[in-house]
């Protein structure tokens, strides 16, 4: 039986009717048309579907849409503002950190969360750990880590939007 749920995605509220077995990933891609989050393995191994739920990297393929009511969801579509890329997207472009690009949205969201944690700029090991749930089958990890390191070294952490550095 479908139930009406209210989803807060990228700051916008969507009301949709969902079956309990609909995953957040399916809701984003097929109900809301937000196809940035990718359906890779669809069983929690690859990280291509990573989105932020209440600012934490979360696998949308293993999250039920009905379970995120009242929680804030952010997808890769939230990163670029109008024509301006997010610094991470810019750095991925500069460093050639996207090859086939399928893992990129998930990696960007894991990296965004790392950079929003504030404190000292994360070192390479912290970056690797933060991205350790995201597989890149082109195996272009070095350039990805270079890109995140570049942004980490050159930005002071703003914290998640709507938060005043806690």
């Amino acid at each position: 039986m479908k139930t009406l749920v209210s989803l807060d995605v990228n700051g916008r509220t969507y009301e949709i009717a969902v079956s309990p077995e609909l995953t957040l990933l399916e809701a984003l891609r097929y109900e809301l048309g937000l196809t940035g989050s990718k359906q890779g393995c669809d069983k929690g191994d690859c990280g291509a579907c990573t989105v932020l739920v209440d600012d934490r990297p979360t696998l949308a393929c293993l999250t039920l849409a009905v379970a995120v009511q009242g929680r804030k969801v952010r997808t890769v579509e939230s990163l670029a503002q109008a024509n301006v890329l997010h610094p991470l997207q810019d750095a991925f472009d500069q460093h050639g950190a996207a090859q086939c690009g399928f893992c990129t949205p998930g990696i960007l969201m894991s990296a965004v969360s790392l950079l929003e944690q504030g404190g000292d700029a994360p070192d390479r090991l912290s970056i690797k750990k933060a991205l350790s749930g995201n597989l890149c089958r082109c195996t272009g990890y070095t350039k990805i880590i270079d890109a995140v390191e570049d942004v980490a070294a050159n930005t002071s952490s703003p914290g998640p939007p709507g938060h005043t550095g806690s």
Binding site: M1, T3, S19, P20, E21, T23, Q39, D42, K43, G44, D45, G47, T50, R56, P57, T58, L59, L62, T63, L64, V66, A67, S110, K129, A130, S132, G133, L135
Partner: protein
């Protein structure tokens, strides 16, 4: 695409309602916490519960507290990523923080809970596969078949308990507080698991784990955890070992070791069984303990890593863990390894 089979979704507001729902809906109902084990298994057609009962609307299940008597109470819905960085847990019982930090991947630790990790379904290379894959071998003892492909001629499922927090909780002497229709009861973690691997949890269908109680660690407790796996992230365990140790000078006052990823029950040994109580924890004794543990551990071909090789490395892994745990000061063990 791996669509989920259909189910009805329930979101009780308190624990009593959850227990009542479990009793009312019967064997077709399953609890869901983080969902990171249940949902992939449902996607693989291993389970098709008609009702899922979500615990996330019940408040206060994710609290970590140090009680007046020095014991710790850890809510069953405490997320693994929160446990891994919890300052009190890192200092008092680092074995649990280290174990939580080694589960799966960052995303799964953000979703998965300690209660879910303790109740993780057993795993086997012949079970955690798609319906199509399993059908090619005529299925197995754990699901839909009557043959064990791990133990030829075996009549009892040997799928492995692989929850990383399980050995950590066992060496700490923790108990699960379980709520059922008759009220609360305490189950020592060690007594929670049984054979066969197809039915390895000694919980009634209408019981809910509410929290874990860890006895006062005391000032001299040293503890640590090591997980062997193919990759340092995402993968399930190929062998996980936890140690808790009390020394008086160099003399062993208390030692407990527990390991998972062997069989459906964790393997647990203490100083007495190992014959090292009161001995000095020298290099030789650490090697001896490693060999004793190895002798009593029986890795099977239920995990996709050669069982003979796993058997070989156990002695070394146990010795190395003891070397690390005994080298650092009690209660100040660093989480980095």
């Amino acid at each position: 695409m791996l669509p989920l089979p259909p189910f009805a979704y329930h979101r009780p507001r308190d624990l009593e309602e959850a227990v009542a729902l479990l009793s009312e809906l019967g064997p077709d109902a399953k609890l869901i916490a983080g969902g990171t084990d249940l949902l992939p298994n449902m996607k693989h057609g291993l389970l098709a519960p008609k009702h899922l009962i979500a615990l996330d609307a019940i408040s206060d299940l994710d609290r970590v507290e140090v009680l007046d008597d020095g014991s710790l109470s850890i809510g069953a819905l405490t997320r693994l990523s929160d446990l891994a960085v919890h300052p009190t847990i890192r200092v008092l019982i680092p074995v649990l923080a280290e174990a939580a930090a080694e589960v799966a991947s960052p995303q799964i630790r953000n979703m998965g809970t300690i209660g879910g990790n303790v109740c993780l379904d057993t795993r086997c290379v012949y079970y955690n596969q798609t319906q199509f894959w399993r059908s090619a071998l005529g299925f197995c003892l754990k699901k839909d078949g009557d043959t064990c492909h791990v133990v030829k001629g075996g009549k009892q499922c040997v799928a492995a308990c692989v929850g990383d927090t399980v050995p950590a909780l066992i060496v700490l002497g923790a108990a699960a507080r379980v709520l059922g229709p008759e009220g609360m009861r305490a189950v020592p973690l060690e007594a929670l698991y049984t054979t066969p691997g197809s039915d390895h949890l000694k919980l009634a269908r209408n019981e809910v784990i509410v929290r874990f109680e860890v006895p006062r660690p005391g000032e001299r407790l040293r503890s640590g955890f090591f997980k062997l796996r193919l990759r340092r992230s995402i993968d399930f365990s190929s062998f996980s070992i936890a140690a808790a140790l009390r020394l008086d000078g160099r003399t062993i006052q208390d030692l407990k070791l527990a390991a998972v990823a062997l069989n459906s029950k964790p393997r647990v040994l203490n100083a007495e069984k190992l014959g090292v109580l009161g001995q000095d924890l020298t290099k030789e004794v650490m090697s001896h303990i490693g060999e004793q543990f190895q002798r009593r551990a029986t890795p099977l071909d239920n995990i996709n890593v050669d069982s003979q090789w796993r058997k070989e490395v156990i002695a070394v892994l146990v010795r190395r863990l003891l070397e690390r745990v005994s080298a650092v000061g009690a209660q100040t063990a660093s989480v980095s390894s």
